[in-house]
């Protein structure tokens, strides 16, 4: 048996990551470089909101403290969010958004695949549902990495810059938090070492096809999973939580 608080924390890491990346992607609504990509990014955002809901609902039941999915999503403070730092990084430009998405999708496609066979059946069902969606996300983000990297001189430069800048946020993904270690031990979550290997394989092959260079630096940021965030998250939360804070219990 895994302690309930480990499961709860694990749900929050991934629910928060989905919620925050969804909020970021939604910022593109009406601002996409072309109409089709505006729609693509908002579609991704929608899938992530859906996944976040399923995970928050489960987390809410695990916690069993009367906090609803909405309260978990909208009424916690910055230090209580456990999302990956990568998810909160600002959109910056289309190349950054695509690269951020690609780094996350290349992780989630394998994590969800493994979790769909998890010993925790509720988690397995959620993972199985989300995996189908993430396969489309991965196709979109890896296609665009190649298209931009192997595109014009300017698009190449922009996406290489995004890869270099975002690289320091990728190491954290595979540094297991306490809850993740507990879940690995119980056989509920897969080994992050294995996941890291398959992530690097995916990244190597897409970067090579995109004629992009893999950054050599090894220094990595960390802190998202324990609530130590970059300066960007506070601004995002201020905007995202405004309605629930101003009108508590607001529904539509």
């Amino acid at each position: 048996m895994i302690p309930k608080d480990h499961l709860f924390d694990f749900m929050l890491i991934h629910a928060d990551t989905s919620l925050i990346i969804s909020q970021r992607l939604s910022e593109w609504c009406g601002h996409g470089p072309v109409l089709e990509q505006d729609m693509a990014m908002t579609n991704l955002a929608l899938d992530h909101i859906g996944r976040a809901r399923l995970l928050y609902q489960y987390a809410s039941e695990l916690e069993n403290a009367g906090r609803s999915e909405d309260e978990l999503a909208f009424l916690r403070d910055e230090l209580d969010y456990k999302n990956l730092l990568l998810a909160e990084y600002p959109n910056t430009d289309f190349a950054f958004t695509v690269t951020r998405q690609f780094f996350l999708d290349a992780f989630y496609i394998d994590l969800l695949d493994k979790l769909s066979g998890s010993a925790d059946s509720r988690l397995a069902h959620i993972a199985n549902k989300s995996l189908k969606e993430t396969q489309y996300h991965y196709k979109w983000s890896s296609d665009w990495m190649i298209r931009l990297g192997d595109g014009t001189e300017i698009s190449h430069e922009k996406v290489q810059n995004a890869v270099d800048r975002l690289w320091e946020y990728t190491g954290e993904i595979f540094q297991p938090a306490e809850c993740e270690l507990g879940m690995m031990e119980a056989g509920v979550a897969p080994s992050y070492e294995e996941l890291s290997d398959s992530w690097h394989q995916r990244v190597n092959s897409v970067l090579a096809e995109a004629t992009l260079k893999k950054p050599q630096s090894t220094w990595q940021q960390k802190g998202g999973k324990t609530g130590h965030h970059t300066e960007h998250l506070g601004y995002l939360l201020a905007e995202m939580q405004y309605m629930q804070r101003a009108y508590p219990g607001l529904d539509w």
Binding site: M39, H125, K129
Partner: protein, 170 residues
């Protein structure tokens, strides 16, 4: 959907419910009923309460809430209440559950129905060939993997030059 041990009264209520659900349509694709779409997974009656299991197509699809409400409202209106709606995510919805009738309706509506050959082509790494719902030509090109709703991709026919939606395999 109808269990054999039901008595005739219970059976009738479920049969009526199925008839009613044939008239409840998907808010985004109004030619499809919720039965055509394959989102109604089970109906059963326990202690006079009609339980309806609904599965979401895409987990964030905003139409799901509307579908739940319209199913409940239609059943209540037909006097088949009390009703309880449950959301189930396992097994995950697949486009294989869209009925043949649903596929035909989609094509007539101008949306290319999901194509199993697409899934096989993807496995082999080939580009899937989607037939244009207007002229039937397979000389089509994907404009965007993501269309006007979560379940569709956007295509263009190179023969008749018409753009069209493709209900993607899921």
């Amino acid at each position: 959907m109808i269990e054999t041990h039901y008595n005739s009264e219970t059976k009738q209520r479920i049969e009526r419910a199925i008839q009613v659900l044939e008239t409840v349509s998907d808010p985004e694709i109004p030619v499809l009923s919720v039965l055509d779409l394959g989102v109604i997974r089970q109906m059963k009656i326990v202690n006079q309460l009609l339980h309806v299991d609904i599965t979401p197509t895409y987990s964030g699809c905003p139409a799901m809430k509307v579908i739940e409400l319209s199913v409940e409202a239609a059943l209540l209106e037909a006097g088949l209440g009390p009703v309880q709606i449950h959301t189930v995510i396992d097994p995950a919805w697949t486009t294989d559950w869209i009925s043949e009738e649903g596929q035909r309706k989609l094509r007539e509506y101008g949306i290319a129905p999901p194509n199993t050959a697409e899934r096989i082509a993807r496995l082999k790494g080939d580009a899937p060939r989607i037939a244009c719902p207007r002229c039937g030509s397979e000389d089509t090109v994907c404009v965007s993997e993501f269309g006007s709703t979560a379940c569709k991709a956007f295509y263009k026919c190179k023969s008749c030059l018409e753009p069209f939606d493709y209900f993607k395999c899921h």
